[in-house]
Every structure is written in structure tokens, then in C-alpha cells.
């Protein structure tokens, strides 16, 4: 009987998710303390840049987006009530900004876009994938990075965001749901689909 006992977390009781040091930092920033603002940027810049880089795939774009994200954070800091952690709240801003930017980019360059299938038909398999397809060869680290990035770039934005937040940032499903603004069940299915697609792309021979 003991095996069938299910312990479920109680969601009705919500304690403030933000820890005290983060909350104090937010309060100082909201008052316009520039040192505190600089501290907030320094504390989170690597995390923001990493997510931006994985979502957009371009270093310069990622740096621009990081600036935009922190500006947005400071503009909307008064709306932060501490229901989620500061980190999750910033992740959410990164995802939203990256999504907007990508939508804008896609609209602007729709006419110039070429589908992956068309590209392969005209130019043969992508370089990264060809390299991955030769397991006997010792791949250089740079090639591995490009290969993974290319595989990630082929995923739909929502799945890419979910897999990056899980595998690289190590967020729990609850935190990912918070950052993406979706239900935990959706996170679960997006991750399963993303992993299925990545496995196929990276194993393609």
C-alpha cells in the first residue's frame, strides 16, 4: 500500500519565490540606484547572453538583444511583484524579446528565405551535418558547437526555447512553464518533441 501513496506538492500555498537578496536588489534598482542596476546586469549578463545566443544563433544579435532585455527589465521593474524568481522573470523577458525579434526578422526577410529541403536539394547536405555523419573522424570542438547550433536552429522557436532552458540553463519544468508563460504539460510535450527532432537531426547519416 505504501507504494501507491502519492505525494503531490501543494500549489495553493504560494510563498514569495524571490529570495531576499534579489528582492533587495530589485528595490534598489526601482529607486534608481545605478550601482544596483549595474550589479543586476553583471549578475545576469552571462545567463541572458547565453539564452539569447542559443535562441538567435548570432553573437552580435545576441549582444544587442541582451541590451534590450536589460533596458526592458529596468523599464518594467516596478511591475515585478516577486511571484517568480528574478531569474525566471528575466528569462521570460529574453524569450519574449527574442521571439519578437525573430518574428520581425522573418517578416522582413521572408522573400529571401530558402527552406532547408530546397537548400539541401541545390547544395547537398549541410557542412555540419556531413561532418557529424562521419563518426570515425575526430571532430574538432568548433565543429561540434556549429553542428549543435545548426540542429537547434532547425527547431521551432518554442521547442528551442524549452530545450535550451532545460538542458543548458537547468531550469525545472515549473520554472520553464513560468518563463515561457505556458502550462507544465505543454513544457513536457515540447521537450519530448524537441528531443525527438534533435536526436534525428544529429544522428542523420
Amino acid at each position: 500500500m505504501a507504494e501507491t501513496t502519492v505525494v503531490k506538492p501543494i500549489r495553493a500555498i504560494a510563498w514569495p519565490a524571490t529570495d531576499t537578496s534579489d528582492w533587495a536588489l530589485v528595490q534598489q534598482c526601482a529607486r534608481g540606484d545605478e550601482l544596483a542596476c549595474a550589479q543586476l546586469v553583471t549578475d545576469h549578463q552571462r545567463m541572458v547572453y547565453t539564452l539569447a545566443l542559443h535562441l538567435l544563433g548570432d553573437a552580435q544579435e545576441a549582444m544587442d538583444l541582451s541590451q534590450e532585455v536589460f533596458l526592458r527589465v529596468f523599464r518594467t521593474l516596478t511591475q515585478f511583484r516577486g511571484q517568480s524568481t528574478l531569474r525566471t522573470w528575466i528569462y521570460r523577458i529574453v524569450v519574449n524579446q527574442a521571439s519578437n525579434r525573430q518574428r520581425w526578422w522573418r517578416r522582413r526577410h521572408r522573400s529571401q528565405q530558402v527552406g532547408l529541403e530546397d537548400h539541401v536539394a541545390h547544395h547537398g547536405e549541410l557542412t555540419e551535418l556531413r561532418l557529424f555523419a562521419a563518426p570515425e573522424r575526430v571532430l574538432e570542438q568548433r565543429e561540434t558547437v556549429d553542428r549543435v547550433q545548426a540542429a537547434l536552429a532547425q527547431l521551432p522557436f518554442d521547442q528551442r526555447a524549452a530545450i535550451v532552458l532545460r538542458e543548458i540553463d537547468g531550469l525545472s519544468y515549473d520554472e520553464i512553464a513560468e518563463a515561457l508563460g505556458v502550462a507544465v504539460g505543454t513544457v513536457k510535450s515540447r521537450l519530448a518533441r524537441a528531443r525527438g527532432s534533435l536526436r534525428i537531426v544529429l544522428a542523420r547519416t
Binding site: 542596476c37 542559443h54 549582444m63 553542428r147 530545450i163 519530448a192
Partner: protein
């Protein structure tokens, strides 16, 4: 759907340790028996390693973040300091708002001008029987002006005066009324005049309907006078005139205002 497919749907959450406690034993039992699904799980774990490994490699190529904080803060500072100017510039960049603003200003200016012009140069909305209209008539006569007044202090009846305003003297029938009230006349005199007026040469009474409008007006005036004589009593207190009525007679139509 095979059992393996159903298990693999849960495998992603299983490797993350996020699968519900109730479903874990089923997946674990299946993995013990199925080599393919175990391989699948190994690939999923390897995939995570690949992603994290690539990310770590990539971090080595990260640019220096030295200037990020300072540039963000200076942009935020500039944004808050220049917010009004920025908003104005933005509004002017988008000419839409500038056009709306100048259009509404111009519309307000034109309508103010129009209303002012109408108020200044337009016709004064004035009642023709108002006191100021009567006073204006003295300067630019449009008819004969009579004043009915009582010399107080005597027993005289009310007297009708014609005011000199440039108009010719009143016609015979009009002045007959004036003479009648100017001189103290008895009720019998007026009654006699009325009897003469309503009696034809044949000795029969003339119907009011067949009379000439001027004749009829005269008779109505006589009747009014008789009525007034019978109804009014004037106390004799002083010699001042007590004005009862001002009448403006244009032709035979009378417009007036009681004072």
C-alpha cells in the same frame, strides 16, 4: 501504438526526473526489459551532454561583458532624461499626430473667428415691441407714437398724446380717439358717436362683418373707450402724469407695451 511508443513519450520527463511519481515505476520496469528503449534513453542523455558541451565550448568565445552594464545604464539614463523630447520627436517623426494637432488648432481658431464676427456684425435679436425698439422709433419713425397718461392731481380721465417723431399727424379716425380722450368727454358723447357709427343712412344697424376694416377699428375703439370709462376710477393726487400705456401705431395696426 506500441508499448515502446507510449513509454518513449514519458522518457523525456523521466530522464529529467519530472515524471509523476505514479508513472515512474511503469517506465522503470519497461526499461529493465526493453533494450531499445534503454538505448533511446541513453541517446537522450547523450543529447543533453552534447548541448551542454557545445554551450561550454561556445562560452570560450563569449565577448567581454565589461561595457554591457555601463552602456545599458547610460541608455536607461538617456531614456529617462530625454523621455519628453524623445516622445515629441517620435510624434513629429510620425507626422500623423502633428497634422492632427495643427488641424484641431486651425479648426478652433476659425470657429472662434466666425462666432466673434457673427456677434459683432450680425443683426441684434430684438423684439419689436421692446422698450428699446420704441425708443429707436423716435429716431427713425416707423409709425405714430401715442402715450396714454393721466394728469394726476385732477379728476381728469386718461389722456392720449401723440408724440412728435417726424411722422405725419394721425388720420381722422385715429385722431378722433385721441381728441376724444384729450378732452374730457362724457360717456353719453361716446355712446352717441357709437350710435352714429353703427347706424346706416337707412336707419338700420350695420353688421360689423360688412364694415370697412378702418370703420370697424373706429367702432372697436369707441367700445373700448366706453368700457374703460365705466371701469376706471382715477384718484386726483398731484399734477404729475401717470403713464399707463405707450402705443406705436403703424397704419392701423397697434403694437405696444404696457409700462
Amino acid at each position: 501504438m506500441s508499448r515502446c511508443d507510449s513509454i518513449r513519450r514519458d522518457l523525456s520527463a523521466f530522464v529529467d526526473g519530472e515524471l509523476s511519481v505514479s508513472r515512474r515505476p511503469r517506465v522503470a520496469r519497461h526499461l529493465d526489459q526493453c533494450a531499445e528503449c534503454t538505448e533511446y534513453m541513453r541517446e537522450l542523455l547523450e543529447l543533453g551532454d552534447h548541448l551542454r558541451g557545445a554551450s561550454v565550448e561556445r562560452e570560450a568565445q563569449y565577448p567581454a561583458f565589461d561595457s554591457l552594464a555601463s552602456s545599458v545604464i547610460s541608455r536607461a539614463r538617456a531614456e529617462s532624461a530625454m523621455s519628453w523630447r524623445a516622445r515629441m520627436t517620435h510624434a513629429c517623426d510620425d507626422w500623423h499626430w502633428a497634422i492632427v494637432a495643427s488641424g484641431s488648432l486651425a479648426a478652433t481658431f476659425v470657429s472662434t473667428l466666425l462666432v466673434s464676427a457673427i456677434l459683432t456684425f450680425g443683426p441684434a435679436p430684438e423684439r419689436e415691441d421692446s422698450l428699446s425698439a420704441l425708443m429707436a422709433n423716435l429716431g427713425a419713425p416707423q409709425g405714430m407714437l401715442f402715450v396714454c397718461a393721466t394728469p394726476t392731481g385732477t379728476n381728469q380721465d386718461a389722456t392720449l398724446f401723440q408724440i412728435e417723431n417726424g411722422q405725419p399727424a394721425a388720420s381722422r379716425m385715429t385722431t378722433a380717439l385721441a381728441e376724444m380722450v384729450c378732452r374730457p368727454v362724457s360717456e353719453a358723447d361716446v355712446t352717441g358717436k357709437l350710435a352714429l357709427a353703427v347706424t346706416a343712412a337707412s336707419g338700420h344697424a350695420v353688421s360689423l362683418d360688412t364694415m370697412h376694416p378702418a370703420q370697424r377699428k373706429y367702432i372697436e375703439g369707441l367700445l373700448t373707450e366706453i368700457q374703460r370709462m365705466r371701469a376706471t376710477q382715477f384718484p386726483a393726487v398731484s399734477r404729475d402724469l401717470a403713464v399707463h400705456e405707450v402705443r406705436l401705431v403703424t397704419g392701423l395696426a397697434v403694437v405696444g407695451k404696457a409700462l
